[in-house]
């Protein structure tokens, strides 16, 4: 496609946005204009190559993780540990801190930077205990009216024997249920890999954002390829087919906005990536903060209940 074709393509997609059931009733004034500017700025490329590039960038070893952002834009950070039952799961960080002057509860996957930390944090794949910890912090947030910020970056929930025995499926379900009950503003952003149930467990939010090169998917490209193409090497083909990139997620009404990244990807400039993410989080929080809690919850459920395409 030429650049001109691409732009046309984008315009069409954008005009389609307002028809998506998701966007009706959720958007506030000015939001679609902002989206339009975002899309323009992104000079978005929706080719198969571009999708694969996002898959690679989303998993880039130098990509900023949750704690990189916490260090850059959360003041008075106090990490809260433990599920009060069995463990403190390092794959999911939770805590309280100030974002632009207001106290927020923050929940985020943490993959770990070096080998030791990655093992300690199971590469960002949480056990049920991680989701129980998140739910405990959500309860604190609910009690004291703190907004909940989720930063999502996981290949998926941990797929091990103990994780199953401790109720991985039920923990993911109940974490979503807890988010569906909250009456505080909730904003999630996928900052890397948004892998399946392990991601959506903490992404049932009033606003779900994705960074420009983040991915959000029901299965890893390799997993999908192994099943449908019977060859994990066909991951690129699989990604092109199920389209985990931010633009397609926006188009499908699954997310509410895209957060720009520094030129070439967030790994190139953590400070700038943090500045852009902070701005997006604050803007979205500000738009939500005047809405009564019951109304937030009603709209949140209506948004997710409107998702899907069927005849």
């Amino acid at each position: 496609m030429t650049e001109k074709d691409q732009e046309l393509n984008l315009r069409q997609r954008l005009s389609g946005l307002s028809r998506l059931p998701l966007l009706r009733g959720v958007r506030v004034n000015g939001e679609s204009e902002r989206l339009e500017r975002q899309l323009e700025r992104l000079q978005a490329d929706t080719s198969d190559e571009a999708i694969w590039r996002s898959v690679e960038l989303a998993r880039h070893a130098d990509r900023p993780y949750t704690m990189d952002y916490v260090e850059r834009f959360i003041d008075d950070w106090v990490e809260l540990h433990g599920d009060r039952g069995r463990a403190d799961d390092g794959a999911l960080v939770t805590g309280l801190g100030k974002l632009d002057g207001r106290t927020v509860a923050l929940i985020g996957h943490q993959k770990g930077r070096d080998v030791k930390e990655r093992l300690d944090r199971q590469f960002g794949m949480a056990y049920p205990e991680g989701y129980h910890k998140a739910m405990r912090v959500m309860e604190i947030a609910e009690r004291f009216g703190f907004p909940v910020i989720s930063l999502i970056d996981t290949p998926g929930a941990y797929p091990g024997v103990a994780a199953e025995q401790h109720g991985q499926g039920g923990a993911i379900a109940r974490s979503q249920a807890e988010m569906a009950r909250l009456t505080v503003p909730t904003v999630a952003c996928i900052i890397g890999e948004g892998g399946s149930g392990g991601a959506v467990a903490i992404a049932v939010s009033d606003r779900v954002l994705m960074q420009e090169h983040a991915i959000y998917s029901v299965i890893t490209p390799e997993g999908c390829a192994a099943i449908l193409w019977r060859d994990a090497g066909e991951a690129k083909k699989a990604a092109a087919a199920f389209k985990p990139d931010a633009l397609h997620c926006l188009e499908l009404g699954v997310i509410d906005g895209i957060v720009a990244e520094p030129e070439g990807g967030a790994q190139n400039d953590h400070d700038e990536a943090a500045r852009l993410l902070r701005t997006a989080l604050v803007e979205n929080l500000e738009e939500l903060e005047d809405t009564p809690g019951e109304e937030l919850r009603r709209r949140r459920r209506a948004k997710f209940r409107g998702m899907g395409v069927f005849a």
Binding site: P159, G197, F304
Partner: protein, 278 residues
Amino acid sequence: MSEARIDVQVEHKHAPPPAEKKHPNTCPKCGSHYRDDELAAALWVCSHCGHHFPMRARARIDWYTDPGSFMEEAADVRSEDPLDFFDLRPYAERLSEAELNTGLNEAALIGQATIDGHPVELSVMDFTFMGGSMGSAVGEKFSRACDSAIERGVPLISVTSSGGARMQEGILSLMQLPKTVCAVEDLHDAHIPMITVMAHPTTAGVLASFASLGDVTIAEPGALIAFTGPRVVQQTTREKLPDDFGLAEQNLRFGHIDAIVPRAEQRDHLTRLLRLFA
């Protein structure tokens, strides 16, 4: 390290026994062979060893409900192909084939019925339709079952059997997790009970959403109930798996379900629960 963990289709999971190897009416546990009418009369349970064969959604509804009481709802809700998904074959073709083979137009049936005179709402999954996978249509049907139960003020009985989210619908299939969870929360807020019956297999995205949120949860003997199935766990982690890994029996021991109820006793068990929640 992290490939193929979640929401894999069921052929990559534990039992049921590979269909290509044995006749579907041959018991995989004891080798007894049955005619269709024999199995149907025995509720698709091996009369020799008690193995529970898969039970089709309509047969199960017939077994649970009072004769003639079932009225299907949302029968017109069908899958679309929002991604123009094409792997080795187009999704649209897989859907048509599933319709032809199953006589269903989706992997879940919902509707109203009575059980021993108690009015209920039913949502029953059918594993034969694309491995009971949950796409937008299944999510919508389950959600409408919740709404119908609320509107009518009757309990919801949800029977699950699923390999997980339907990956041919990409991210939209993942969104059926929060969608169905939100529907259950609306049900909870309306103080409507949900009784879940987990049939083989209840896994991945369905286990990680509405299937786990019943007020009371029973399972069929031998049913696989796992977020990640045994084969993927072993491939990914190289852990040694316990013999009954992920089976209903292990889930009971680890506190995830309320009881294992053989199929022949399920109707009575449900009736008793309906009396309690009446």
